[in-house]
């Protein structure tokens, strides 16, 4: 397409048609202050701080597309006076007192105040009070801090596809609301937390990380989430010089486009279960703490003919180490073979228009995949069909909803759809057969555990059988329930286990942000989770445990 010649601050530039003045100015490294503008969201020009002067007229640069003969000036006295007036109005409209605000230091409104040297109010201070919505487990909405930029509303629909947030009333009385104006905690919110991430002020904040630290007091570690096999790109904010994480944000430059789910943003920050803080032995139905050397000695005696069970929470490095030491005695405690192999990737999902979801609620697990298909559906360029026997919250955005036993009937109705992608986790044998009959389908399997694919790559197969000595390595030992009765069982695990009475020896291993490692994501690509924290408890990595074992008894 032919480029358009325009002038910005007297400088001639050739601009691509369709681009906005703001985008061109950014490309030229010229600064235009913004507030409601947020890169991945559609611009709306409501805050009006980004105004510039074009041939004597003030226009919002975020919504004005380049046009021939434009002669744009960014900082004329008229522009600056108007911006200052807008700021005065914004600051006095509601309660924008920084001193006790969680967002102080990160707040974009505050930064604009500093940029324009605002040192007093020219209007009377606010009078209206709005009640704070604390009803949600993770998120606080304080409308008193809101500048009505609608970034949260746009992010919730355009990016995350949840369509929970909206607004009511008009003008300065506008309120950001959840669903039909019910408390956020009672709404259909999936706790993805994207609204917190995009809010420029303290209007939407994160409960857990309140006052944990400003961005300048943190270091940001780029990592991948290991809560599920999607392996979303995350930015982990760690307080400098201290051993805790302030918050986890989604990485806008990665495949997940900044979106996370409840597990990735919040789940990873709460200890799900109490941590195992020392090696423990159970004799005469009593738990007794022992030291590491003793634990290693006991383990060494049981190791010879033990069967080793692992789960999919282990990283590639750990799996290959275990495999090297125990060879063909290693089994996956859980199913890891997909019922039908995937033939598409996340990228294909983003491009596709038709989705068939079988037996999985994508608002509760694999949430980011849910976002990708829901936002298509709500934008009117995607159709979702859901098959499930349980309550499935995707039903509300699905074009068709069927029971699992209606698979054949449903697929028959859908057979004219253009290459729909089937999204599934488990499938019955019968349904596998039915699905294989339809040649227009594409398949996207959701692996059961974070590193299920890694288990397959290491050729660790699923099997459960009784054995005299059992060693479990991982986080989720529930699968062992039936076979544990008379075995001597050792668990290398980070948590206090509920069924501890079935175990004879427990050795704590590192968990979560205390360890680093790679795993295979849903697309089969290797991604890395970075170490962020020091372990607060006595815990060990597998390498150390095996090295020590080797000293006692050659492995």
């Amino acid at each position: 397409m032919e480029k358009i010649k325009i002038k910005i601050n007297g400088q001639e530039v050739e601009a691509e048609p369709g681009k906005t003045v703001l985008q061109i100015a950014k490309e030229m490294n010229l600064h235009i202050p913004t507030l409601c503008y947020f890169e991945p969201l559609l611009p709306q020009g409501s805050c009006r701080l980004c105004i510039v002067e074009d041939r004597g007229k003030l226009v919002t640069s975020c919504t004005t597309q380049v046009a021939p003969n434009m002669d744009v000036k960014l900082d004329t006295p008229d522009v600056v006076t108007s911006r200052k007036l807008i700021l005065q109005l914004l600051f006095t409209e509601r309660n924008h007192y920084c001193m006790y605000c969680e967002a102080s230091g990160n707040c974009e409104l505050q930064k604009l105040g500093y940029e324009f040297g605002l040192d007093h109010f020219e209007f009377e201070t606010y009078e209206r009070k709005f009640s704070v919505d604390n009803s949600h487990n993770y998120i606080v909405i304080d409308p008193n801090r809101c500048v009505l930029c609608r970034r949260c509303v746009r992010a919730c629909s355009q990016l995350a596809g949840h369509n929970v947030l909206g607004e009511m009333n008009r003008g300065i009385d506008t309120m950001i609301i959840a669903d039909m104006d019910i408390p956020l905690g009672e709404s259909s919110c999936t706790s993805c937390g994207l609204c917190v991430q995009v809010c420029p002020t303290g209007a939407i904040t994160d409960k857990r990380s309140s006052y944990f630290g400003k961005d300048v007091q943190t270091e940001v570690i780029n990592s991948n989430c290991d809560q599920c096999p999607i392996g979303c790109g995350v930015k982990v904010y760690k307080r400098k010089g201290s051993n805790f994480i302030v918050k986890i944000y989604g990485d806008f430059d990665k495949e997940n486009e900044g979106i996370l789910c409840k597990l990735g943003r919040y789940g990873a920050l709460f200890e799900e279960k109490p941590r195992l803080t020392s090696p423990k032995i159970r004799d005469d139905s009593q738990d007794r703490k022992i030291d590491f050397d003793e634990a290693i000695r006991i383990m060494s005696e049981k190791i010879k003919d033990a069967v080793i069970y692992v789960d999919g929470t282990l990283f590639n490095e750990e799996l290959s180490l275990i495999k090297k030491v125990f060879k063909d005695r290693v089994f996956s405690l859980y199913e890891n073979e997909p019922p039908i192999k995937s033939d598409v990737t996340i990228d294909d999902i983003k491009k596709a228009n038709n989705f068939i979801v079988i037996g999985v609620d994508l608002n509760r697990e694999y949430g980011v995949i849910g976002s990708f298909i829901k936002r298509k559906a709500s934008a009117g360029n995607g159709k979702i069909t859901t098959f499930d026997n349980n309550f499935n919250s995707l039903a509300t955005v699905s074009e068709n909803v069927f029971g699992l036993e209606e698979l054949e009937k449903g697929l028959e109705e859908l057979k004219n759809l253009e290459s729909p992608i089937v999204i599934y986790k488990k499938l019955s044998k019968k349904n596998v057969e039915i699905l294989s009959k339809y040649k227009n389908l594409r398949f996207f399997h959701l692996p059961f555990e974070t590193n299920s694919i890694g288990l397959l790559k290491e050729n660790i197969k699923h099997k459960i059988e009784k054995s005299k000595n059992i060693i479990f390595i991982g986080k989720n030992p529930e699968g062992l329930k039936e076979i544990l009765d008379d075995s001597f069982t050792i668990a290398l695990t980070p948590y206090e286990i509920e069924m501890a009475n079935k175990f004879n020896l427990l050795i704590p291993i590192k968990d979560g942000f205390e360890k680093e490692g790679t795993f295979y994501n849903i697309d089969g690509k290797i991604v890395k989770k970075e170490r962020v924290l020091e372990s607060k408890f006595e815990s060990f990595d597998l390498r150390t445990i095996f090295e020590e074992l080797n000293k006692v008894k050659s492995l």
Binding site: Y97, C98, Q110, Y114, F121, E127
Partner: protein, 180 residues
């Protein structure tokens, strides 16, 4: 160098700004040696500023009828008025009481609070009357300079006083301009 006579008061504030003033530490001694003359303030026993006071520093918002009288008195006595701290400059955290009618505030404070026994709302004429709405100082009198911050840093206060002593108009930029 010309002497600069300053006076200060605090209205509806927490005195944190005055503490930040003292946080100039040795630089306060330096300013005094340079010609800063400290007239009536809460740390001295002079109760009324002299008529030829150059700078009147006001901490705190205007919340009672007494405060209104006092800031007006400061305006009369002082050539320049400096509003110091977020309460004086913007109204600050105490404006949160604007949300609630005065009698409800007093009821909570003097009758309902759990440790209060046989409470009543004090009504003595010696006590100031709460205004229905807490105001920033510039809603009551003309203010010449502003030092926002909760509290403003000692550096910001030093900068402003030093600029005035050196005969320049004070401007706050960079790290000196903060609202928290």
């Amino acid at each position: 160098m010309k002497k600069i006579k300053i006076a200060s008061i605090w209205c509806e504030g927490c005195s944190g700004c005055h503490m930040s003033f003292l946080d100039m530490d040795e630089r306060l001694v330096e300013l005094i040696n340079k010609g800063l003359e400290i007239n009536a303030t809460p740390i001295t026993d002079l109760k009324v500023p002299d008529d030829d006071t150059d700078i009147g520093i006001i901490e705190g918002a205007v919340a009672t009828d007494h405060h209104e009288e006092e800031v007006k008195m400061m305006r009369e006595k002082c050539k320049f008025i400096v509003a110091i701290g977020d309460c004086a400059v913007f109204g600050g955290i105490v404006t949160m009481r604007n949300y609630t009618p005065v009698d409800e505030l007093l009821k909570r404070g003097y009758i309902e609070t759990e440790s209060t026994v046989d409470g009543k709302i004090p009504t003595s004429p010696e006590l100031g009357k709460l205004l229905p709405k807490v105001k920033a100082v510039n809603e009551v009198i003309k203010v010449d300079y502003y030092i926002p911050g909760c509290p403003p840093s000692a550096d910001a206060i030093y900068h402003v006083l030093n600029e005035i002593l050196e005969g320049r108009v004070p401007m706050l930029t960079g790290e000196l301009l903060k609202y928290e």
